[in-house]
């Protein structure tokens, strides 16, 4: 039992309520109305922060022993590691009440997925999926306004169900990591988690990310024999934006987008880079005449650079034949789940310890292996009135 005023079971309720509610004050409502426990927001904050710091200390000292794990895994058939950045608002620690030195900081997030795995003799889905042929959905994915005055192609307006086999791997078990540390340290955390879950013994291994450089540094340093895959949604966004610049009217833009995206989906990335590479000199743009940053044609140069830099991670037909995922939708989903708790216009976390603590608690709560409940059930007591700050336990 905790050395002070709360039993283990109550601590568990408090930490889960804090992790799953938007704020500590909403957690008080959940605790009162769902559990019948009257606990102040300040107590919830203090307990959650202490547990988060313990989780961070335990992670850093490698204190997650096999005996404390609720699920002991066999090596997966398909192990998928995905990483992405997030954002969090912080304030200076040890400052007077209020928000001081507020700033946006990047968080690092990763999910490690055991997935179903099939393999195919031929590309199981050579045609561009319907979702990427829907102008409204595509505009949303590219974070752009929908094309106005576009006559929908018949196959989109009919919205026929696809007859293609569902080749996509399915999630079996997910564990999550989230932290404020830099990418070098985060890569070590990811590798430790992957080793615990025996991902390096998996029959098939893949690493997915967007174009962020640190994703691929981590992949090359810690997961060199995982197949690196660029999330297909990201080049799609670049291509869509480039198409709006390269063409005059919406119909032409849409046709151009479809042709280039289909080429990427089918592994013909070189055709797209060639088309972009030919268009830019025609606009008088070359190494000797670079574009200013605010020139709209910069979007085309950006798309060309992005596709060229990531060319080796865009062999999508091969990935589909191997039964590997080609989008990091599950990672995006996890980032949204983390953000639900930590990101908001009025949410500020002490930098770094408060932010790190809530990220640890939230990430642990999002894991499928009940690691947070397992830890809280066996949380060692403290022989003193006050727990020493974030001791490794």
């Amino acid at each position: 039992m905790d050395a002070r005023e709360l039993t283990l079971a109550l601590v568990q309720r408090i930490v889960y309520a804090a992790s799953e509610s938007r704020s500590y004050s909403r957690a008080t409502v959940v605790l009162k109305q769902v559990g019948g426990n009257e606990v102040s927001a300040k107590t919830i904050e203090r307990v959650t922060s202490a547990v988060g710091k313990e989780l961070a200390a335990r992670r850093d000292t490698g204190g997650v022993d096999e005996a404390s794990r609720s699920v002991v895994e066999t090596p997966p058939k398909l192990a998928v590691v995905e990483s992405d950045g997030g954002r969090i608002q912080t304030r200076a620690e040890d400052s007077p009440p209020g928000v001081h030195w507020q700033q946006w900081r990047e968080t690092k997030n990763a999910c490690l997925l055991r997935m179903t795995c099939g393999s195919f003799d031929h590309d199981p889905h050579p045609e561009l999926p319907q979702a990427f042929c829907d102008p409204e959905k595509v505009a949303k994915l590219a974070e752009k306004e929908p094309l106005s005055g576009l006559a929908l192609p018949p196959e989109v307006s009919a919205k026929k169900p696809s007859s293609a086999v569902d080749w996509r791997p399915k999630r079996l078990m997910r564990t999550c990591l989230s932290s404020m540390v830099d990418s070098r340290e985060f890569g070590c955390q990811m590798e430790r988690e992957a080793r615990r879950r025996r991902f390096f013994e998996a029959a098939a291994r893949a690493f997915l990310g967007d174009g962020l450089a640190w994703n691929w540094s981590i992949q090359q340093t810690h997961f060199p024999d995982f197949i690196p895959i660029l999330d297909f949604v990201h080049p799609l966004g670049y291509i869509y934006t480039a198409a709006t610049i390269m063409t005059g009217d919406p119909q032409q833009t849409w046709s151009y987008y479809l042709a280039m995206t289909r080429a990427c989906w089918q592994g013909r990335v070189d055709e797209v880079t060639a088309a972009l590479g030919e268009w830019l000199p025609r606009q008088g743009v070359d190494a000797a005449h670079p574009l200013p940053d605010n020139d709209p044609r910069q979007a085309v140069a950006d798309a060309l650079r992005y596709l060229t830099n990531n060319r080796e991670r865009m062999d999508y037909p091969r990935y589909r034949r191997l039964g590997l995922p080609v989008t990091s939708a599950l990672m995006e989903s996890m980032v949204k789940e983390v953000n639900y708790r930590v990101k908001g216009s009025e949410m500020f976390w002490n930098d770094p310890s408060g932010a790190e603590a809530i990220l640890q608690v939230r990430a642990a709560a999002l894991c499928d292996d009940d690691r947070l409940a397992t830890y809280l059930a066996a949380r060692p007591g403290c022989p003193y009135v006050r727990r020493p700050a974030a001791t490794a336990v």
Partner: protein
């Protein structure tokens, strides 16, 4: 399962039945004859009895554990053997506040209190 455990289970079952009957009678007496009642009131009152019972069990069990603690314990910091006193403190549980009796030491060398049961 040995004989003692079996007898204790039977006793618990009998006492729970009696507790249920007594609590229902108490609810009815407090409500007054012929007064309408909503099920939520029945449920809340029953739950309160359950929580009280839970607290009693926890208090009793911890008291027994405290009784078995030796009179002295080493300080967790410096290892000096210190005398232990059994003291009461209030702890919040999921079923409400509990009064627990537990060993409490004071290290004169570290000038610090400690709780060996933690």
């Amino acid at each position: 399962m040995d004989d003692k455990t079996e007898k204790l289970k039977e006793k618990l079952e009998r006492l729970l039945r009696e507790t249920g009957e007594t609590a229902a009678e108490l609810q009815a007496a407090e409500r007054g004859a012929g007064k309408p009642v909503h099920f939520s009131q029945i449920e809340a009152a029953a739950h309160q009895v359950g929580s009280q019972l839970s607290c009693r069990i926890q208090e009793r069990t911890v008291r027994e554990l405290a009784a078995d603690v030796p009179q002295e314990s080493p300080c967790p910091h410096c290892g000096t053997l210190c005398r232990l006193n059994i003291e009461r403190r209030t702890v919040n549980s999921t079923d409400g506040p509990l009064d627990l009796w537990e060993p409490h030491g004071h290290c004169t060398r570290c000038r610090r209190d400690f709780f060996p049961s933690a």
